[in-house]
Symmetry: C2
Subunit: 197 residues, 2 copies
DNA sequence: TAAAAGTCTTAAACTAGTTCATTTTTTTTC
DNA sequence: GAAAAAAAATGAACTAGTTTAAGACTTTTA
């Protein structure tokens, strides 16, 4: 993907919530860093302090933690047009608990912490953009944290398929199990059951 | 609680993230509505369009949905110095799925949707306040939605006690079960087990 | 293109959590 | 302050999801 395409993608994403002048667009783009990650490579690992907030222009990544037994718990899959990172670590400059690993060759745009702060000084409109972006993410996480707790694994799988039909075909069953919160073995049973219905 | 005390509480809460002039403080206070809810009364019910975002100055409320079988799933307990409401319904003016019920006699300050919009026009600094508020809530919900899925009920109970030591003594075991995502019977067993340890 | 590594499937034995039913304890209400 | 209502405790039978192990299928790597 060339620069122009990835810039159009991120500016369109921002354009959903705020209007920018040509000058502001240029200024914004100048604050971004181009990043490439090959399949299976880490964008970031637990213990590091997150340097960027990421916007995905191409590919797919998984964001996950490891529990005491070393089992992975996937908190999100990020594909084109998604934002990702570890906000807690990014904001408070504390070591992250998350790993971010590419499941396909991927391309991203990164906004560093210094540039994030600068952004609000230079284009205060971005306070609004992030206010709305966070608000919307919040609505969906509140819903997920309730559903995660109250639905059965089978119901969560059916919801995931409905909500992310494009993602479901790009990830392994094992990773999906790590997201749904069950073992790969039980995931396999659920899938064959649901497909039989 | 008198007006002055509740105004100090909310202004201190806001003061954590942004600085306001005296004039701005007055302006902000003038946009708020005083609300009282008696124990067991509803602040809001599913099907209604949420009219306010609420700040609690006294008391305790539970925010919950009912599933198809009529079982309650509690998404948060809100006590003094907390913000609550249904953001999805408030923002998009769509019917809410949530009930909010007082578990103690409570007092709140409400910001209506019209005044919320006005606020950003009159004191743009509030974009920043909400950007930071939402960002912090997001961090804790992301953590909760992962933990909710990957910890056992007993671990979730121990975490809740550690994180909200003051709330745990103000709510019933039954409501806590509705938050943790288990039956009241199993909650009872966990509590007696943990206390025995 | 063969070997190695990882993913998926299946099944049996197990455990965390549910359901239903009953009794005791606490809180609410008049 | 007695009666009613709600919450909490306990136990037995059940179900959703885990664990372990082994074989089949796919993808990656040299």
């Amino acid at each position: 993907m060339n620069y122009k395409e990835s810039h159009t993608l991120i500016l369109d994403n921002i354009g959903r919530f705020i209007d920018l002048t040509e000058l502001e667009k240029q200024k914004y783009i100048s604050l971004l860093t181009e990043i490439e990650v090959k399949k299976k490579a880490f964008l970031m690992q637990a213990g590091e302090i997150t340097r960027y907030e990421y916007f995905i222009t191409k590919g797919c990544l998984k964001v996950y933690t490891l529990d005491e037994e070393g089992a992975p718990h996937i908190s999100m899959f990020a594909v084109e047009d998604y934002w990702t990172g570890d906000m807690a670590s990014f904001m408070d400059k504390e070591p992250s608990r998350y790993f971010i690993k590419a499941t396909e060759d991927s391309e991203l745009l990164g906004l560093s912490r210094a540039n994030y702060d600068l952004l609000f000084q230079e284009i205060p409109k971005f306070e609004r953009f992030y206010r709305i972006l966070y608000q919307r993410s919040l609505v969906s996480y509140i819903r997920r944290s309730n559903h995660g707790i109250s639905l059965t694994a089978e119901e969560r799988y059916i919801e995931f398929k409905k909500k992310y039909p494009k993602i479901v075909n790009r990830i392994t069953q094992k990773d999906l199990a790590g997201y749904i919160g069950i073992t790969p073995e039980f995931m396999s049973k659920i899938i064959s059951k649901v497909n039989r219905m």
